[in-house]
Amino acid sequence: MINIIFAIILVIFTSRFIDNPCLCYGILCKIPSWDDILGSGYYPFFQNFGYLCPARTFRKLPVLKGLLSCAVLMFVSNIIFIVVYLITYISLRDKPVPTSPSRPTEEPPYQPSPIIDPSQEYQQPYLVENISEPHYYSQTVETTPTNEIPSAPVQMRSEKF
C-alpha cells in the first residue's frame, strides 16, 4: 500500500516537471546548472541568486517522460497485486467450509490384528489378517492355510510411542 502512495507522489511530481522542466522548489532553485558554471553566464552565488533556465534543462524532457512511464507501471503493478490478492481472499471467504469432512475412501478403516500381541515373547514373523472376514488377497490365504505356516521364533521389537 505504501508503494502505491510513493508511486502516486512520483507520478505527480514528474508530470509537473514534464509540463515545465524549469520548475524548481526551494533551495534547489539556487543550484547553478552545469552551463552556468562552465559557460560565460556564471556569477558567484552571493552575486546572483536567480539562475536562468538553460537549454540543457530541456534535454531532460525525454528522461522525465521515461520516469513518468516507469512510475505509472509501478503503480499499475501494485494495483494488480492488491486486486488479485483481494479477489482470491474474497472468493475463498465466500466458499462454504466443510463442517464434517468424510473419511477418505482410498484407505480401509484400521482393524487391529488379534494375533499379534506385543506382550508375548515369540510371535509370527509377519502379519496375518483376520481369517473370518472376507480377505483382500483371498487366493493366497486359501492356498496356504494358517496352521501350516511355519512359526519361526522371532523376537519382536517392543514398540515405543
Partner: protein, 89 residues
C-alpha cells in the same frame, strides 16, 4: 498402534487442509515472482532515470523524488520476493 496413529494423523492433516485453505494455497508463487522481478526492473530504471535527470540539471526539473521513492520500491520488491520464497507454497 503406530499404523493407527499414522492413519489418524493423515486424516487430521486432510481435514485441517480442507478447513484452513488460505490465500497462500491459491495464489501461484510464479505470479508473485514475476511481479517482484518486474518491480525490481522498474526500481532500477527509476533510479537510473532520476540519475540522468540530475546529471542534466541538478536544480531545476527535479526534486530527487526518484531517489527517495526508489528506496521504498526496493523494500517492496525485496519483501515481495521474501513473501514468495518463505511464505507461499
Amino acid at each position: 498402534m503406530k499404523k493407527m496413529f499414522q492413519q489418524q494423523e493423515g486424516v487430521e492433516m486432510r481435514i485441517s487442509k480442507s478447513r484452513h485453505r488460505t490465500v497462500r494455497d491459491v495464489i501461484p508463487s510464479i505470479f508473485i515472482g514475476l511481479l517482484a522481478a518486474f518491480q525490481m526492473i522498474l526500481s532500477l530504471a527509476i533510479l537510473g532515470l532520476e540519475s540522468a535527470s540530475i546529471f542534466y540539471d541538478a536544480g531545476r526539473g527535479t526534486i530527487y523524488a526518484g531517489v527517495w521513492c526508489s528506496i521504498i520500491f526496493f523494500i517492496t520488491w525485496i519483501s515481495m520476493s521474501c513473501y514468495r520464497k518463505f511464505y507461499l507454497k
